[in-house]
Amino acid sequence: TGGHTTEILRLLSCLSESYSPRHYVFADSDKMSEAKIRSFEQKRAETFSNSQFTLDRIPRSREVRQSWTSSVVTTLYSMLYSLPLTYRLKPDLILCNGPGTCVPVCISALLLGLLGIKRAIIVYVESICRVETLSLSGKILYYFSDYFIVQWPDLKEKYPKSVYLGRIV
């Protein structure tokens, strides 16, 4: 959604073409991300002619301030979509930055890894808005990601296993 998409596109801005094809996964209720992504990829195609990307939507796994128990149910529902999608895409790298949508995708990837089907590296970048506390996605994925990146030193102190590179968006 919105800010998350803007941030993730900035993260992608300096990546080489080794990180291709790019598969964007976002919530079905998200009306604005598709346009931002297409615009980004169009610009990118001007420099890298073989640039490839795809777009996929899955049901939104959680509304803002949705309760815990109902969030588990909606996340499981989203997994009905994210699991076959992740199985089909078999990504080498999953890059996410915090919207609820990333949780079912990452859980799917972890399952595929456990089943020996495909082991993806999960890199989570917490939003720049998070200065002192982690988002809910962050709190969950801190334990399940391979690399957990924070953008403010307070968070690095609180979460010692995280990586601090300074501000990167």
Binding site: G2, G3, T6, R10, L11, L12, S13, C14, L15, S16, S18, Y19, V64, L93, I121, V123, V125, S127, I128, C129, R130, V131, E132, T133, S135, Y147, I149, Q151, W152, V163, L165, G166, R167, I168, V169
Partner: protein, 104 residues
């Protein structure tokens, strides 16, 4: 207006920006280098939204006030005290990922 696709043009022609504490608004404005006054409404906001506004204020990058102090802040503010907020560096992220994957 209610919603515009991009505020870039408005930001370019502004001398002062007064905004709520939404991260996107704050960061987009700071990138233009225009002075920013953030109006905080604690009743309406998520606690976590305040984190960024408070950090920016502590760093001297933005002015802060709440709805009741807006007018007096506008009258007494000194914009020259504001410090620039350097942009983020996504190239550091690219370097990090390249190291993870062994691309040099």
């Amino acid at each position: 207006f209610r919603f515009k696709e991009s505020l870039a043009e408005d930001l370019r022609s502004a001398d002062l920006v007064i905004s709520h504490a939404g991260a996107g608004s704050c960061l987009e404005t700071l990138e233009t280098g225009k002075p920013l006054l953030v109006v905080i409404n604690e009743k309406l906001m998520d606690n976590h939204q305040l984190e960024l506004a408070k950090r920016l204020h502590r760093g001297g990058h933005v002015l802060c006030c709440d709805c009741s102090t807006l007018v007096e802040t506008l009258q007494s503010m000194d914009l020259s005290t504001l410090k620039p907020f350097p942009p983020g560096q996504p190239e550091k992220f690219a370097l990090f990922l390249d190291q993870v994957f062994g691309f040099q």
